[in-house]
């Protein structure tokens, strides 16, 4: 700690002398990893899990790597500056962890060809810009199976963030899981139009429970909907991280984002000089999607959930196996076939049976 302080002070003094020196003098062989977060690291969801991944890099690579982050970076004009500041301050691997950072990441990546960039959940790539995401829909199918078994009112409340393919895909997958064990389940969706706003998310959950929902599912990042479920005595699922401490009586399981091994591997690749631009979409099999311990459910449901997750992980079963019809009755995936990744990534339609309309 002290040594780095001295180093920084010296660097600062040097910078006063020669105004343009800046902070760009990091050693080339060390990996300096930067993270840009959309929420606070204390959101206990999305950004929190990315930060756990950042800490994994520090733990695994030790002195060979240093990391830094900027939290709550708005997805507007500011993102580009933050990303560029990271590139300028000697970071050689930069993770931008929200969809809204796609265009600024691409822009800065062009200007810093020697810096490696990784953008989560987007679709623009370059020689020094990788993309990565996780197949959360696999976990959502498992959650759907559990919900189908556990619901008594046959109404599931779903707090959505934005009607983007990622979220729509999750709803479809969840409902196919639910219908595989209980064809009478119906889903009610409220769009919170935010990734992180505990107040709004909680209000949405209350409204859904008032409409008869006895299972709460969320695709927003705070534990608020699950906490509402806990207080109102209904069940629910954690989002992004194991939220059992917020809802010990309500959480059935949680779909946990686990970026640790991916982040460590990518940081090591930069250290070895083997980093290549690629697109990663990891599922339960790679450990990127994890199911938190199954709680508050009978043993047979737990066994069924474990079995479903294992089948998905082994590739024996794909949640989007045909026949799949959309709401208009059009056959989207033929019997016995599996939706390809292109279809999944651009999914902007509900499957047949969902009694709601996508906001257009």
């Amino acid at each position: 700690m002290n040594a780095s302080l001295v180093k920084r002070t010296l660097a600062a003094v040097a910078a006063v002398g020669a105004l343009a020196t800046g902070m760009g003098a990091a050693q080339a062989e060390d990996v300096k990893v930067g993270f840009v977060y959309v929420g606070p690291i204390g959101d206990h969801g999305w950004s929190y899990r990315h930060d756990i991944g950042r800490q994994a890099i520090e733990a695994e690579l030790g002195d060979a790597a240093s990391t830094s982050y900027v939290e709550s970076v708005p997805e507007g004009a500011d993102a580009e500056r933050v990303i560029r500041q990271m590139a300028q301050t000697g970071h050689n691997l930069i993770f931008t962890t929200s969809f809204g950072y796609m265009n600024p990441t691409e822009k800065v990546a062009k200007q810093f060809p020697n810096v490696k960039f990784e953008h989560a959940t987007g679709y623009k790539r370059a020689d020094n810009l990788s993309t990565y995401a996780a197949r959360f829909y696999e976990g959502r199918y498992v959650a759907g199976v559990i919900a189908g078994k556990m619901t008594k009112s046959n109404v599931v409340g779903y707090v959505g963030s934005f009607p983007i393919p990622e979220v729509v895909r999750g709803i479809n997958s969840f409902m196919m899981g639910a219908w595989s064990v209980n064809p009478d389940v119906e889903v009610k969706v409220v769009w919170a139009n935010t990734w992180y706003d505990p107040g709004k998310e909680g209000d949405a959950a209350k409204a859904l429970i008032d409409q008869g929902a006895d299972i709460m599912v969320q695709h927003t990042d705070s534990p608020a909907p699950l906490q509402v479920a806990e207080n109102r005595g209904v069940l629910g699922f954690g989002q992004a991280s194991d939220m059992i401490k917020f809802a010990p009586k309500a959480q059935l399981t949680a779909i946990v984002d686990n970026w640790d091994s991916y982040y460590v591997a990518r940081a090591k690749a930069v250290a070895d000089g083997t980093w290549e631009s690629m697109d990663t979409w990891g599922g339960i099999d790679t450990g990127m999607v994890e199911m938190a311990p199954y709680t508050n459910m009978p043993d047979d449901v737990k066994a069924l959930a474990e079995e479903t997750a294992a089948k998905i992980a082994s590739g024996e079963f794909h949640p989007f196996t045909g026949p799949i019809y959309d709401q208009a009755g059009e056959l989207r995936v033929a019997e016995g076939e599996v939706a390809d990744d292109g279809m999944l990534l651009g999914m902007d339609w509900y499957i047949q049976g969902i009694d709601a309309e996508l906001p257009k």
């Binding site: 002070t9 500056r81 300028q88 301050t89 934005f162 139009n193 651009g346």
Partner: protein, 359 residues
Amino acid sequence: MVRLEPRRQHSQAMVYLSPVLAILMTLVVGGIIFAFLGKNPFDALYTFFILPINNSYGISELLVKATPLVIIAVGLAMGFRANVWNIGAEGQLTMGAIFGGGLALYFHDSESILLMPAMFVLGALGGAFWGAIPALLRTRFNANEILTSLMLTYVATLFLSFLVHGPWRNPEGFNFPESRPFPDAGLLPIIYDGTRVHLGTAVAVFVVIAGWLLLSKSVIGFQLRVVGKAPQAARHVGFRQKRMVWFTLLLGGALAGLAGLFEVAGPIGQLQPSISPGYGFTAIIVAFLGRLHPVGILFGGLIMALTYLGGELAQITLGLPNAVTGLFQGILLFFLLACDVLTKYRIRFGSIAAKGRTA
């Protein structure tokens, strides 16, 4: 018992010195906080206030960040001087971005050089339109413009959200909530190559000068000051307060709308659900930091912009939390208000009974 007693005469110099004093005290307290966080205070203050602007790129980013703050704050200051409390600049900014940006989306194949001037006009009109509603409600129904302008902010941001989720969503954008990118003709020209400093920054300088002339040299500027400081005298000599309400809300709205247009046609380049990290609200602090004077606002805007840049660098290089930015802005405002109070009042110790003797 501690009381505040108005000073009969307060130092004119202190009115302008108090922001400087507030900044100095913020630095001292900030340093102490950094020390408590286990950082070398000088190192931390250097990172926060010098490092962001120790190269030309940093200065260019400071200008980009200060541009909307200065433009909005000059408009707000006109109103604040006339006791018209427009708190809804954020909404007016959003409407300006919608109106001006909407034009760029409608003509997304255009290469016309007329597109940009037309976007300027529509951006200002959009903001002025959103400012006109509280003006109408105030002059017609005597509705408090603090409430109406603030609430209209939420209407504007939800309207933008609706547009980019629905009718204005990019048809090639995989259903993500964002508009098409603006055509090149709808993007503000960069005035320094290799930076993000755009035409809007030049406009901000113009706005400062024009605002200064308006306040100090024009009849309406004189009326603004009289209406604010001595409303009864103003009424006596026939200055119409309603006209001031209309003028300041339309002007403040137009400038905020222009600032919003500059954000979407400048650094962002498209419409998306969130286009401003609260510039319309931060500009209120900037207006007071600059003593409601356009030239002061220029400096206030730069200082406020610096706290954002410094907060980012403090996170990157020192590992300090994002909350440090808000903390600094809060401390700065606190000391500014405290200095103002102590300029106008003196503190008296003693019981109420002692009042007769001290007064």
